[in-house]
Structure formats: C-alpha cells, structure tokens
Symmetry: D2
Subunit: 262 residues, 4 copies
Amino acid sequence: MLKEGDFIYLYNDKATYMIPFQKNYCFSTHKGNIRFPEELEFGDKLITNMGDEFYILKPTLADYMMKVKRRTTIIYPKEAGTIILELAISSGKRVIEIGTGSGSLSLLLSSLVGESGKIYSFERREEHLENAKKNVKKFGFGNNIEYFLKDPLAEGGFGVEEIDSIFIDVPAPWTLVECAWQALSNGGHIGFLSPNIEQVQKTAEELHKVGFARIRCMEILSRGIRIKKNLTRPFDRMIGHTGYLLFAQKVKKGNAELDFSI
Amino acid sequence: MLKEGDFIYLYNDKATYMIPFQKNYCFSTHKGNIRFPEELEFGDKLITNMGDEFYILKPTLADYMMKVKRRTTIIYPKEAGTIILELAISSGKRVIEIGTGSGSLSLLLSSLVGESGKIYSFERREEHLENAKKNVKKFGFGNNIEYFLKDPLAEGGFGVEEIDSIFIDVPAPWTLVECAWQALSNGGHIGFLSPNIEQVQKTAEELHKVGFARIRCMEILSRGIRIKKNLTRPFDRMIGHTGYLLFAQKVKKGNAELDFSI
Amino acid sequence: MLKEGDFIYLYNDKATYMIPFQKNYCFSTHKGNIRFPEELEFGDKLITNMGDEFYILKPTLADYMMKVKRRTTIIYPKEAGTIILELAISSGKRVIEIGTGSGSLSLLLSSLVGESGKIYSFERREEHLENAKKNVKKFGFGNNIEYFLKDPLAEGGFGVEEIDSIFIDVPAPWTLVECAWQALSNGGHIGFLSPNIEQVQKTAEELHKVGFARIRCMEILSRGIRIKKNLTRPFDRMIGHTGYLLFAQKVKKGNAELDFSI
Amino acid sequence: MLKEGDFIYLYNDKATYMIPFQKNYCFSTHKGNIRFPEELEFGDKLITNMGDEFYILKPTLADYMMKVKRRTTIIYPKEAGTIILELAISSGKRVIEIGTGSGSLSLLLSSLVGESGKIYSFERREEHLENAKKNVKKFGFGNNIEYFLKDPLAEGGFGVEEIDSIFIDVPAPWTLVECAWQALSNGGHIGFLSPNIEQVQKTAEELHKVGFARIRCMEILSRGIRIKKNLTRPFDRMIGHTGYLLFAQKVKKGNAELDFSI
C-alpha cells in the first residue's frame, strides 16, 4: 500500500505527472480530475471524471530528473547515465557539481553516493539555488548534499579537498579547471557538459595545460522507437543535440599527455 | 599511496590495461615492460623499457565493465547508463539480472545497490557463470550478488519475490515475461537489451499481454569526438548498433494499456 | 536580369518563399509586403514595408522539392540524393515512380533524366495526381513525364517494359514487386522508401522470392550544424526518421541470392 | 546482350568488382577465377572455379564513385547526393570542382550535367590529376570535363565566369572563397566538404565577409540495416564521420546577412 507522501508517476501515453500520494486528494490533469482513494498501490489505474485512464507507477531515476521544476536547462538522463559511469559515481564517493542549476543531476548524484557519500553543489545565482534545493528535497533526496551559493573562481577555489569526482556545467568551464585540479584527489575524475564546441576546445586545452590526462569527448544520442504491430519505426522527431561531454583524469603537474597535441 | 591489490587503469592513447598494483611487479605491455616501484600514486607516469609512457589512473565504472574477461557479448557503458536510470537502480534496491554473461553489468549493479541492496544473477551456462564470478570478484565487487546456475523458465520461475527491478538479456526474452511479472513488486521496473527488432516486437507484445504498461523502446548512440587544434571532428568509425533497449513497468493483471495497440 | 516567370527563392533566416518573378508585383510575406521592381537580379536584397530583408536567390533542387504544395508526405532531399545514386538516375534513363504523391520526387527525376529520358509516374488517387501535375508544371519541369491514374496491381502491371529504374513509395510495396520485375530491364534497379520496418521485411522477402539480388537497406540522417562564433553546435532538434530505403537489382528468375537467408 | 567494354558490377555478399566485359576473359577474384562466356546478360550468375557465385549487375552511380582507383580520400555517395541537390546540379549546368582528387565526384557531375553542361575540374598535384582522368575515362564519363593542373589562388582565380555552382574540397577552403565569388553567376551555389570543424568555421566567416548568404552546414549519416528473418538490425559498425557539408549562395557585395552574427 502507498503511504501518504510517496511519490507517484501518473502515466498515460498523452500526459505524465509526478505527485505525492494523499488520500482523498483531488488532482487536476489536462484530461479532467482524479480523486485519490483511501488505499492505492503501484500498478493500479485511476480514471478522471472525463474518462481518461492514468497508471499509478513507481518513478524511475530519469523521471525525477525530468520532473524538477525548471529555471535552467537541465541535465538529461541520456547524458546523466554516461556521466555516472565515466565519473565513477557510486556509494561513498565525494563529488563536486557546479552549477546546481535546477537540481536534476544533484538528486541523481545524491541518490547514488548514498549516506556514506557527499555532494558539494555550487551555484552562483540565489534564485536557482533555492529552486534546486526545493526540487531535491521535495522528491526525498539531498541529505548528503551541501549547497554553496558561491563563485569558486572569485573566492579562491572550491574550499574542499581530496574529491573523487567533479562535474562542471557552466558557460565558461575552462576557468574552473585549475580550481578543480586543486580540489581533486590524485587520479580523480572530471567531467563537463557544454553545448558549444568552442567551449570544449578551450576546456580541453586548459585541461592539458593544468595537468589532466585521458582527455576524451563524446556526444550521446537517444533515439526512441515506436513498437506497434506493422507500424514499428523510430519516432519522427528526436533531440539532435543537448551538449558535448568531456572527461579527463587528474595527473601530477608536469605529467602532460605528450600525444595530445593541442 | 596505492596499496597492494588496488586496481590501476594503465593508460596511454595506444593501449590500456587494468591490473592490480603489486610492488616490484614487472608487467608486460605491447610496448615493452613496466616495473612497478615500491611507492606509486594515481596520477603518476611510468615508462616501459622501450620508452613508452603510461599513466596510472583510477578506473571509471565504465573501465571495469570494459575490462572483464569476455566469453560473451557484454553490456556496454552507453546502454548501462540508461539501464540504471530507467530501472531506478540505487542504494538498497533488490534486482534480478539474467543472463549473467561475462558479469560486466553485474559488477555495475553490485556497485550501485551497495551493502543494503541485493543482486540475483541468473545464468544457464556454467562456464559463463564461473567466468563472470571471477571477473566480478577480481575487481572487488559482488558481496551483494547471489548467483544462480539455473533456467528460470524450466524451473518454475525466479524463486524470489518483491523485486524492484529486473534486467533481461537473453536470446528469447519474451519467454521470461510471465516469470518476471511474478517476481516483481507492484509498479516494478523491467528492462531488456536485444540486438534484433523481432525480439523487441515479440517481447513488447508479451509485456502488453501479461500486465505491463509504459512500454518504451530506444537505442543509444555514442559518438566520440576528437578534440585537437584545427583537427576537431567526430572519429571516423563508430558503433552503429549494439542493441535495442526496451523498458516497462508492472501493473495489475487486466490493466492492459488500452492505447498500446499491438 | 530576371525574366518574368523565373522562380525566385525569397530567403531570410526566419522565412522562405518560392515565387515567380513579376515586375511590380506586390508579394505578402509574414513580415510585411514586398514590391518587385522593374529590374531584379539574383543576389539582390529587397525590404518589406515592415523593414525585413529578403535575399533573391536561385532555388536549389532541394528547394523545389520542399516547396511543392503538399497533399501527401513528400520525399525529402536527404533520401532523394541517395535514391538518385543507387537507382543510377541520369540523362536518358527511363524511370517508373509510384506513387506520384505531391510530385516532389517527380520533378527531381524529370530534371535529371533530361529530354532524352522518360518518367512514368503512377498514382491511384486523382486529387493527388492533379496536385502533383500542377506542382511539377508550375516549377517548369515535367515535359518528359507521362502520368498514369492507375493501380498497376489491379490492371495487370505497369504496361511498360525495359525500364532502367523503378522507385516505389506506397503503403504495401511488396505487392508491386512482381509487376516491377516484369517492367525492368535485366540488372535494372529498384528502390523503396517505407516508414515502417515491417514493410521493409515483407518487401525484402518478396524481392528475394521474385528474383532480385543485392538487397540492401539503409536510413539517412541529416544533422544541421549551427556555425556561429563561440556558439557552434548541432541544432537542438532533428528529424529522427522519415523512412527506410531499400534497394535491389533484377536478376534472372531462379537466380535467388543463396546467402540472403530470409 | 552485353557488348565488349560494358562495365559490370560483379557482386556477391563477400566481394564486389567493377570490370569491363570481355568475351572469354578470365578474371581472378579472391574466391577463384571466373571465365566470361561469349554471351552474357545483366542478371546472370557466374561461378568461380572454387564454387563461389557472382551476380552480373548494372553499376549504380554510387558504384562508379566507390570503384575509382584511390590516391586520395574520395567523396562518398552519402554526401554526393546532398551536394547534387543543394548545388542544383542538372542537365546543362556549368560547374567548377576543386580539387579533382581521385575523380569520384567528377564522374558523377559529368554524368549529371550531360552534353550541354560543362565541368571545370582543378587539381594542384599532377599525379592525382592523371589518376583521376584515367578513372573518369575508364568508366566512360568525362567528355564534358575540362581539367586544370593549377592552383587558382596562385594564378589569379579560376579563369572562368558565370559559373552555376562550385564545389570545393581542399585543406584550406576559405582561401578560395573570393575566387569563387568572382567565378560564380549572381545567386550561384557554392558547397564545401571539410573533415574538421575549424575549416568550416573559417570558411563560413569568409563567406559572410566576401558576399554569400544562406550559409548552412550539415552532416549526413548513413546507417545500414541488415534485413534477415528474426535477425533484423542495424549493422554493428558504421561510418561515424566523413566531413561537414557547408553551402551558401552568392549575393551582391555589401549584401551581408545581417543576422549571421559570426
């Protein structure tokens, strides 16, 4: 049985909502109102007063990310999966992210490092940080996140050390490479998401100069396929680009990668 | 300082190796021999007797996956990231995977569900299972994995209940849909990776029949980009296809998705 | 100097129009009215009464295709380019297309086979055929096209012989494979565009059965890139799918491709 | 019946050859020898002395392009299709290409502009030009091509005027933009294929400066699909990148595109 406050992914093929379960609560969809019963389970189906059916589903991690209230561009699941694997995000890890944005990646990182891990999340703009905090808290994540309303560049660095992994999504990522090197443990992981190729070019050059190796860049494309009898095919429209992913690992100063001839 | 047994990702742009650190051990690469010193740190650089340099790097989660000894096709990182997010794999979750294969996904799942979670990993072929166990153990994962040398179809199901998420990568995935439904908790997540579209078509039809909703299919393409001064461009070759991902969620019997007109 | 009736591609980065030049004609755009002067050249710029600038450009072949009045889905330039090369469309060739649709491919084929070539264009629906004829004629193509308001399946075939190449874009393409074999010259080229994979599967099986070899399928993706100082990147949205292209070549009956194990 | 000298595409799913038909000629394949009979038709099948079958097929335009003897990177069919449509290559057009390379695009252009058209093909390196000439002639194209062993930049331009379309594939394409503007008719089409994004960036900036509008860039991906009963899927490997296509049209000097803010 669902408990009050448990998050539900309300789903049909036209619309989706993420809301906390509340007994007898009346929820307005674009397809009419739904009244929640006293007892409800995942896998049930409810019908609006206009006759539309909605499934009561468990949210995926991707659902939480997509349902944050957005005040900024968010990190999308298609990139987040690769970020996790390339930055070795797992239980117990200490991770920096900058900027917090709307908190879509923050809640994922929080979920994956668990109680024994720690997320240090930096954001310069107060209204974004407040929105992100609300998003993360509302969905039940974030006990292991420490937020900073701060520009590390202006204030002499991140102020933490021996960090396992750093993820950077800001307009001028190259400016933070030296700060990041200082905060990372030896061999530590760094990752960037940048929409423009010029950002990647400048950042890769800076990584090389400051002391990082294994510099690599990729883009991730996700293509939805409609599976329907005699009508199976990729969907007509797809996301052509969100951003370029750039990864590297900290090495000792002077250990520049000889063959990375930028 | 690295401790004996810590795994090292030995990296240069021509070759990579994953090996445990051992003092004074002499390791043979394709580019000559490396002798490990008494003291070594991540971020150091070692030189072979033929003059080639290798970085001493921390492995990413993707590196562990790619460096299992392969007796089967493995799950690649580009799909694994999406699998984690869509199946809501995180700390404390109870997850079934079938088949174990070479253990590349097993070690990732093991890493992500942590000590409070549990992986039930099924494989029919003994030689594959033994290889996978060795792979997972060698890299320091797997305390939370229970292995089964078993065909659930022949033996009346998975034999476990209230599972959060199931991942299926077998040649006839549609045959396991009913067993999976029985093993999952309400609203639970199911995922498949299948190379051929016909497998996806049959499995989607079976999912619909047995009692799953939110059936969705996608493919993930990862495109490497070379970042080099005046020579920036995508790499000439890319992986065109590994498999189709198919996801769904368990609903009550009879709650068939009306608009999924297979 | 432009002559009256010459087609102009009116272009700015917000809107485009294809119209014939007429002296002193006043043309309404979404951004105000343009009055054509007595004398106009390609490469000139005109300004609407609301201050918006439009370039006077020569149409590309792709522009003609995209600017037909659409009553059906059209063949897009990204597929048309491959169709031309794989079907060996060039000066003097005799080509069948079915269906005519809105005529976007018809005008391209007409342009490429020239005066010494011939296009036989079949369409079942009169309103589509009339629209296509108008489109093709309006843009100055089509002297070498013979139109047929006809279903070749119902009427015993195409009624022409020794055809070099046939292009088929209909909902049940497999039904026309035998007719097409009859109409083609030995070794002749056949091509199909089909949105759904099941259409491709059925058609490939029929091709194999009837007497075609070198059966091959592909999809073409075109990805626009924005080139802008410090803001260079692929566009956010792209066409994820229009259709699968399928090609084959006629061989003698009985010469089935042994290794095409459908 | 095939005449002596007619080009044949010898095809099976392991190997392909392009050769002229000669009665009684014995041709060596990797799978044994084939002796041509006195009489042969397209659509026939021949068997090597080692038992391998080959189809006798009509070449497509793509086949000619792919079978030139290569001394340089060639233009591939996937880009060539788009080049034709965007540069409005058709019967009677006057076209410049630079460089000639191995002649793969030359023969296609030659085929499409026909007897009433003209190709001016420029190449700086004599050994490439000689190879290209041989390739084009061998396959029966090229009567309408005039070749120039010349660097237009060093020699004051292309030396021809009122050209309809120019295609540029050289390492420093931006250096030729002014020459190209001089050679083109008003509103004329220009296209570039460049492997690196920096080439595209510099060329787009130069186009804007010199007097071109409608500057647009794209990349074309072609993805092969294996159609086989119960084993239908994209091929494992694909070409990830050949080059970026850049197109524009000549406008009057001073008519810079206001909103193209490079």
